[in-house]
Amino acid sequence: MSKPVLEIRNLNVEYGLGDQAVRAVRDVNLTLHRGEVLGLAGESGSGKSTLAYGMTRLLPPPGVITGGQVLYHPEQGEAYDVLGLSDRDLRAFRWAETAIVFQGAMNSLNPVHKISTQLTDVLRAHRPEMSEAACNDRAREMLKLVGIAADRMDAYPHQLSGGMRQRVMIGMALILQPQVVIMDEPTTALDVVMQRQILSQLIELRERLGFSVVFITHDLSLLVEFSNRIAIMYGGRIVEEAPAAAIYRDSLHPYSKGLLGSFPALRGPRRELTGIPGSPPDLKGMPSGCSFHPRCPKAFDPCSGNIPVLGRPDTPDGPTRSVACWLHPTEQPVG
């Protein structure tokens, strides 16, 4: 496995303070390796967006980070903790090292400025030495990269279709050639054809430019197709993490199995749509033990009493994957 670029260690995020706090992300450990596409899946409300925004400190109030580290490994030099950066350093870090394509891409563009202004203001903030003409050239180049005619530079967001706006956002994310691109449900608002088109384009770009992607979606079938590894979230925790093929073929966690059953896969043999009975847990009143146990078809004695920790399972491919389930006693915890 290649070198890590981003390591999340025991990240904890809460909304609110004190007793009333909602613990939306709990002790999450996750490593993104150089050049890979890491998929993050889970029902809506499982904390995927919170995790993504939390690691770059972009949570809206009353979100607070209550613990953990986000280690970033630059191409050269020492790794550092993103959560420990000063506001000034964080500003410089943002977009230059990790860019984000947001969930609500429809509203991600400022309605009153031209596309060109919004592309170039990134350059002006991070590359003050660049000339006006160079900025514009670069912006045009990025549009071309994502398949938008350069004459749309002067368009306003409302003059573009949803798919085009999403491409603009992707182009904007790549404009500083970041190491990491986080995509939070970047295509949910688009139709299926457009989704695949944009995703294949993204994968192709990744092969060319060599950045890593954290790809968030509630649609596991998309991930199986487009990502190298997949992490599954439930109730604010990562419950399973494995190579995409392993998740698809033999997922270990009952929740992952349920998720896979919820979506018809686009390729490969047809599977039965089973879905998961019950509803996602209430973050304010989490079930004791494994938070999935009230819905889990395989729950047994220890499940309701003890929280299973993410660790390497004792399967043959154990070293490449981890899971948090009492069905699979773990050798050593990850993280």
Partner: protein, 326 residues
Amino acid sequence: MKYLLQRIAFYLFTAWAAITLNFFIPRMVPGDPVQALITKYQGQLSSQAIDSLYVLFGLDKDKSVWEEYVDYWSQLLHGDLGLSFTFFPTPVSEIISTSLPWTLLLVGITTIISFFLGTGLGVLAGWRRGSWADGLLPVTTFLSSVPYFWLGIIAIYLLTGPDSFFPSSGGFDNGLVPAWDQYFIPNALKHSLLPALTILISSVSGWILSMRNMMVTVASEDYITVAHAKGLSDRRVAMSYAARNALLPNVSGFALSLGFIVGGTLLVEIVFSYPGIGFQLFQALGAQDYPLMQGVFLIITISVLVANLIADVAYLLLDPRTRKEG
């Protein structure tokens, strides 16, 4: 362009509605104030002036309302608003044209300053929530509830007097003749300071509050988070992203609240005996000078409509979504 044409059509329609309203209101006046006036000034009134009053008040019993209405319009289009009772026999149009500039300068300039000042403070209060700027809110709430004219009274009480810098009434010293010269202009400015301050203080709070609320609302839009994620400077996110968008509803709010503001500012003129339209209206009310009242109402309405149109143009320039291609 289509948008602008629509707006213009709408304002023309509104002007028509206001004029028609103006035509009917005097017809509800009980008694016969005009007849009394005509009898009083018997012989001094030219027959043309009497005709004009007849049209204005619908005294001509031989004509149908429709004929009166047509006459009324042709009279209006000739700039004839009738004769004032108070300043008899000065035409209303003459009184209005001497007092209108005073109001336009005082109310116009202060309203614009107030809008920009309030919007600026609102940006600060909305962007730095929980900071000192939030402490302004109770004060602004109180100030925006104070009637303009009462604040004027307090200002006169506290700040004027025999040896104060501020004059307590009028638009200029008695000895002076209005002219664009080095004696008159500074004097007129001095007289307008206190009324202007009064209007400013009572109207600025409204803008602070609405802009603050718009900033708070806009601050949780996605594109603001994106702007932060892009690593832009705080200033740029605040101004170019948040304030720039929050300004839009404030500008349309500006247009819509002009009618309210103008009403309040007229009262300030009354308190300060400032020689503008509002003070004329006050005098007309006291003397039951219906032609003057109507004329003032008409001119206020038309000024507000024009100001609205200007605000619309500003909005058009600020919001690309209202600009259609081509």
